[in-house]
């Protein structure tokens, strides 16, 4: 039987489509409305609510936690001070990505971590092997609900309810209250927009939800399903596990595994020469950086609009633009070579309604991954494969200043 998230009773009546799906064993909503684009625009135009509770949540506490994270996480946790959050990845000894996740540093020697796949045994094993005994790892997945409040008006909604919202910088986290309930409030999210995530206990979920939902009514607050969220995350250049990469832990062959450098996370290791940690995967990551031995690089593809449209017009049909978010693999081919010479592939594809163009997240060999390079992307027109021109572009495709700025400076977006 599927499980219900702590917000289920509040969200179920809002699900107009009555379509449900399974996420990590929980019943979740792919789209509340038949117009997914309408849901999507609440992320960019007003304020959206997304129930992200099925994520696995772990609480790490004790004086050895810092040591555990310094070893187990690829990105340097020491740059994440109390009151800050950090997007991170963890790698195996071969330097392949096991998972990504967000760490909240909520107090001294206290962290919370969210992951898409279970990681309880994983961290316990590492702690045991590293002889780190002064720490506790608790699975708090069922104790907390997480509600993501994302969109340009998210600050207006939360500012009515709790202290500290305005002061919160990008990737800050604070302990505060909503409707007199204790919550964690972090300025994080998976939309690439101004947004927050609220952690509350499962018992407080109803009150917290109602407070936020009511406070949002004047701002067109809209519950969104996973499809609208995924549309936003492609524009934001955010990678999704099992779509843009697989966990190295359960992959069969290295071809299915990715290194953080290949995923575009070179920036996580900007300060590697001053970083004395012997973290998992470091040796291989250093070799990859110094030898430039990455097998491919993760890039954005901006598809040529005229070329894209022409393919459909030539076939006598209007171009596919509406709600065509797609997670199936499309091949990328070299230009100038004979036709159909395979070069790489794109896993996330979307006609972005906001950007008015098709975009994709692709893996390309290094010589093709340079910004501005033209490649051919496979699309299907009336069941027949064809190619369209696309240009390599850095991620993200959409990056509004409000995402990272002090909210007071962007009050009038």
């Amino acid at each position: 039987m599927p499980r219900y998230t702590p917000f289920h009773d509040q969200l179920a009546p809002l699900n107009e489509t009555q379509i449900w799906k399974n996420w990590a064993g929980y019943l979740v909503v792919p789209n509340y409305q038949y117009c997914i684009t309408n849901e999507y625009y609440s992320i960019r135009n007003s304020v959206s609510l997304f129930d992200t509770s099925p994520l696995f949540k772990y609480r790490f506490s004790g004086q050895d936690v810092g040591k555990l994270f310094e070893f187990a996480l690829a990105r340097d946790i020491r740059s994440c001070e109390t009151g800050q959050a950090q997007y991170t990845v963890f790698c195996d000894a071969a330097g392949f990505v096991v998972q990504d996740g967000v760490v909240l540093h909520t107090a001294e020697n206290e962290f919370y971590l969210t992951t898409a796949e279970p990681a309880y045994r994983y961290f316990h094993q590492i702690a045991r092997r590293q002889n780190l005994t002064q720490l506790a790892i608790d699975d708090v997945s069922e104790q907390f609900g997480i509600l993501a409040i994302q969109g340009p008006h998210s600050h207006h909604v939360l500012n009515q309810l709790c202290d500290g919202t305005t002061e919160l910088n990008y990737f800050d986290v604070t302990k505060t209250t909503i409707a007199e309930k204790n919550v964690f409030l972090s300025r994080t999210g998976f939309t690439g927009d101004l947004g927050y995530e609220v952690w509350c206990t499962a018992n407080d979920a109803a009150e917290v939800f109602h407070a936020i939902f009511n406070a949002g009514k004047n701002f067109n607050v809209t519950p969104i399903g996973s499809t609208a969220l995924k549309m936003a995350r492609v524009e934001a250049g955010l990678l999704l596990m099992d779509v843009d990469f697989n966990s190295a832990r359960y992959a069969w062959v290295d071809q299915q595994r990715e290194t953080p450098i290949e995923l575009g996370f070179r920036w996580m290791f900007r300060n590697l020469e001053n970083d004395d940690r012997q973290f998992l995967g470091r040796e291989q990551i250093e070799i990859e950086i110094s030898n430039r031995s990455s097998r491919w690089k993760t890039v954005g593809l901006a598809i040529d609009v005229a070329d894209y449209e022409q393919r459909f017009v030539d076939a006598g049909i209007p171009p596919s633009k509406y709600e065509n978010y797609c997670e199936s693999t499309r091949s990328v081919y070299r230009v100038g070579e004979p036709d159909w010479i395979y070069a790489g592939h794109a896993n996330s594809f979307l006609y972005s309604s906001l950007l008015k163009r098709p975009i994709a997240i692709a893996k390309l060999p290094l010589d093709l991954a340079k910004i501005g390079t033209t490649v051919h992307l496979e699309i299907q027109v009336i069941h027949k494969p064809t190619t369209v021109k696309a240009t390599v572009q850095p991620l993200p495709f959409f990056n509004p200043p409000r995402k990272t700025s002090n909210v007071l400076e962007v009050e009038h977006v």
Binding site: P2, R3, A24, G25, P118, R121, Y122, D139, Y250, V253
Partner: protein, 528 residues
Amino acid sequence: MSNSKTFDAIVIGAGHNGLVNAAYLAKAGLKTLLVEKRSLVGGAAITEELIPGFRFTTFSYAVSLLRPQIVQDLNLVDHGLMILPLSRTFQPGFDGEYLLLGANKDENYHEIARHSRADAEGYRELSNLIERVCFALQPLMDQIPPNSVSDAPDEIAAMESLRDYIAGLDEPVREMIEKFYQCSAVEILDEYIESELVKSMIASSGIIGSKCSPSCKESGIVWLFHKMGEYDGSLGDWGFHKDGNGGLTQVLARSFESFGGTLQTGVGVEKVIYENNVAIGVRLDDGSTQHAKIVVSALDPRQTFSRLVDFDDMPADLAQAVNQFKFQGTASKVNFALSDVPTFPGLENRSDIYMGFTNIGPSMDYLERAFEDCQAGRFSRRPFLDCCVQSTLDPDMSPPGKHIMSCFVMYTPYHLAESDWDTQREPLGDTVQETIEEFFPGFSQLVLHREVVTPLDIERVVGLSEGNIFAGELFSSQLFTNRPAPGWNQYRTPIEGYYQCGSGTHPGGCISGGPGWLAAKQILNDQL
């Protein structure tokens, strides 16, 4: 049938391997006679309507290892093959505890996490690794193993390339294969699983049909063997054939006959006739003879080498290996006709929990104690049971609303220290019923009919020596290049034209059809 009809090949025994072998030979154009002593084909894979409307899977009860190539080659789908997925595994525990696994990894995670959060992850890690091992070893299931004691350059090269293949596997996969060969199920499981209920559920795969407990070294390889199958590419998963395993052997019989094969039931083979070490035919129980240049035994190694032919004619190495070949059957079946589905407290009205295997063996200690009884020469006072209520899934198995329950029972040693199976048959039935009653209160009131099949019954009815359901233990000393004996593992025998194709040959027991198929390959190669 007329004795004047001549055949190219005679296959002895219409178990699933005899059927597969005969069908391949017939398909290749050989005039093939398949002889079965019973009135129905199937051997240990039969379905019998012992009381009207109730279809008993008398002996075996599920399928996983059937080689996919056989399904294609023998057009089994055209002849009615239909394998239903086992969508559940149910493991009742003590005090109303239970583990109910299904087809969704997330659901299984949460279900196992009720018992141990670490196990929920450990289970997935272990399953992933085992799948990788099975994927790596599956090609070996589908080929004739090399001869490990031969000096022939081809065989030496084949052994070499086998070693290279294993050496070329990913390190974690290679290490795990080594563990399966050298470690007990307990030793392997201790690394991944802490909960007793979860551990004993997995460990039971390491004892099925074998005289070993989860802490015996042999349980590693037995466990691996039971994971070597698949359901539609989902490695290690099992299914029910429509109408039970007898349904599957009926499909095989139709395939055989569609290729022009001749089936003769109700008469056994007394002896293989050979002259100057060359097979020329068989003498049947009714005194008649049939001639053919190719004679294939689908019986187990003891029958093949010491009953059908003169044991004294066998070379010393083979004779010694057959003498030492371990049968030591330890499994029984108790089958019930029921007036309703059993009830598990807390899961009332949930007949779906029975749509797969229901394992009674709630702790490692329980399994070990069961084995202690076996070692002492008596059947387990609290046996491990692997139960199926196929009628919850397949309505053709029983009258509407009523059910048929198959219980595979361990341990029940063939050799009882202080009694015999004709005396102990019904006491065993009572013990099984009491055991089920403990976990499913009210069970006994549902029983309309009970059938107890002891190792002695398996030997008497099916012909499997000492009632071993695999035609010989699945221990590493008796697998692959050693099955049934080093140097005699390529389906040939010391007698030219006389072959072996039973589960006592590679790849071994369970309904794989592999021995029948690979033997046919060898026979047809030899004809060229």
